[in-house]
Amino acid sequence: MQFRKSWIMTLALTSVLALSACGSNNGGNNAPANAGGNNAAATNAPTETSSGSDLSGSILASGSTALQPLVEQVAEKFMDKNAGVDIQVQGGGSGTGLTQVAEKQVDIGNSDVFAEEKLKGDDAEKAAALVDHQVAVVAIAAVAHKDAGVDGLTKQQLVDIFSGKVTNWKEVGGADQKIQIINRPGSSGTRATFENFALGTKTEDLQGSIQEDSSGTVKKMIGETPGAIGYLALSYLDDSVKTLSYDGVEPSVDNVISGKYPVWAYQHMYTNGEPNETVKAFLDYIMTEEVQTADVVELGYIPALNMQVARDVEGNVTKK
């Protein structure tokens, strides 16, 4: 990697030289490009050494866009407390985060799903090397357009709707209105969670269903489209859509914590092997009461610390 970086730098230098050769007057702007190169080397390689209690070094995290706001906000607080530490948080999606942490391109890979679910088959070894840190929980609720006329659905009704057996709201006790499914793409972590814990089965995509990856768009569509049904993380719920209860259980934070409401998933921060001191300090900081009760709740996640139940990769739930 170091070699490639120096190669890039040479290229950058060449173009800078070329620039001055062309007689352009951009010298002032080039300087940062040069100087930044040295800095990147420092940024991307976390320093293993640290002196006493003063943490130093840099952390690079990437992955899930759902987890990104939380990590960004906590990173800013952490940097305020530890002046020597620099944390960069990037998005890119869970797949990208897992790929990059497995390739050691980043220190932390953020993911909505267990690494084992994404890194399958030939990549299973990679997943085994990753260490899981579950920092928060996101619960997902089924939501419908306001005029659908139902307050809740049972598991079986949801399965029937998402597998296309039921196509009109009146068949599940609602208004006489055609059901429009607003699903997520097959690669989505939110869809995996919803299928695993709400439907209990994988569903096939249906002709004519709408697929959107982003929660904002899904919410907008459900709010605007008559007869629409979809699912959203609790933090996105508001008055523009109708939140449905699941088997009679309200999707509320308390019901998730107590284990009554089953449709939830961990937000994972993976490290490749055990983290170094700086990364560990950062991960520990996220799990402190201070962050879990303030930032985590404020941004609409459910604190992992409070959970009274735990769940493993296979989906087995145990009381803590």
């Binding site: 869970s94 990208t96 990549d123 793409p185 995509d205 249906l206 269903s209 697929q211 959107e212 990856d213």
Partner: protein, 298 residues
């Protein structure tokens, strides 16, 4: 005081430096294109080589279920979706563009050009995310209220794309019309033909190959457009049964799933195969443009 000889040498050195710098720039262009083709192809072909998906299944299979227990990678819905929205967009945009070009060059050559030229440039300058944003907040609700269906779908995608490719077709068509020899028109008028007769029997037939170049360039843009289409098309991996039904394009499925899949997984590789198809289609469009240009010269 420098001798005349050393000044000559200085010139030679300057010349040499200049030439080698230019050679470097040109070489860089070649390196970029070769590495692009190499990297995208090596990723995209792995679906067929190591993934065990047959070329036939990929191009003609209609079942797209990469996450299923027995995954299948039929990309036909995406390929057909891309072609469908592209053709529809070209069908909507071409007549409009040709009218605009005729307006600029034949009907009111003076202020027509002064009015439309900036309009076309501005339309070309509006970023594609803004087009998507407007498509989602204006076109989709309009279609939902006017036609059966949810508003989202092939028709919405084609409408957004048609506005996006208007400038491309119009400017090429206007250039073609302006380049037409004046005496051709004059002799037609001299024969007593009306303006429309001149346009429909003389001007359009002679400039058609050049105008088609513009249409193909517009289609190339529509085929590769990602964000605006993804926002309004609905993204269901099926060949749509009506124009107002949710469908997918190659670009929309790539945008939707690339970040959520891990590099090297067969799902991810299939997306790269689609990127490869996009790349090959670019070659095809450029080839088509060349063919049209050559015909135009004869």
């Amino acid at each position: 005081m420098k001798s005349k000889k050393s000044r000559l040498e200085k010139h030679h050195i300057e010349d040499l430096v200049g030439r080698s710098y230019m050679a470097f720039c040109v070489l860089l262009l070649i390196v970029i294109i070769i590495s692009m083709v190499y990297f995208v192809a090596s990723k995209g072909l792995s679906t067929f080589i190591t993934g065990g998906v047959s070329v036939g299944e990929f191009f003609f299979g209609t079942k797209w279920a990469p996450e299923a227990d027995t995954p299948s990678f039929g990309a036909f819905p995406f390929i057909s979706g891309s072609f469908l929205v592209t053709l529809l967009a070209a069908l909507i945009a071409s007549p409009l563009s040709i009218c605009a070009a005729l307006f600029m060059t034949e009907i009111v050559p003076g202020w027509g050009k002064k009015l439309l030229q900036p309009v076309i440039e501005l339309l070309a300058g509006i970023p594609s995310v803004v087009y998507g944003f407007i498509g989602l907040s204006v076109i989709v609700p309009f279609l939902r209220d006017t036609f059966p269906g949810q508003g989202i779908g092939v028709a919405a995608g084609a409408l957004v794309l048609s506005v996006m490719i208007l400038p491309t077709i119009t400017s090429v068509a206007a250039d073609a019309l302006a380049a037409l020899p004046q005496n051709l028109k004059e002799s037609s008028f001299a024969l007593g033909a009306t303006r429309w007769q001149t346009i429909s029997r003389v001007i359009l037939p002679t400039t058609m190959p050049s105008i088609m170049t513009g249409v193909v360039l517009g289609m190339a843009r529509a085929f590769g457009e990602a964000l605006a289409v993804q926002m309004v098309i609905g993204n269901a991996p099926f060949v749509p049964k009506s124009l107002f039904e949710s469908a997918s394009t190659l670009t929309s499925v790539i945008t939707l799933s690339m970040g959520n899949t891990t590099m090297g997984s067969s799902y991810n590789n299939a997306l790269w195969s689609m990127a490869l198809v996009l790349m090959l289609m670019t070659f095809a469009f450029v080839g088509l443009v060349r063919l049209l240009e050559r015909r135009n010269k004869i």
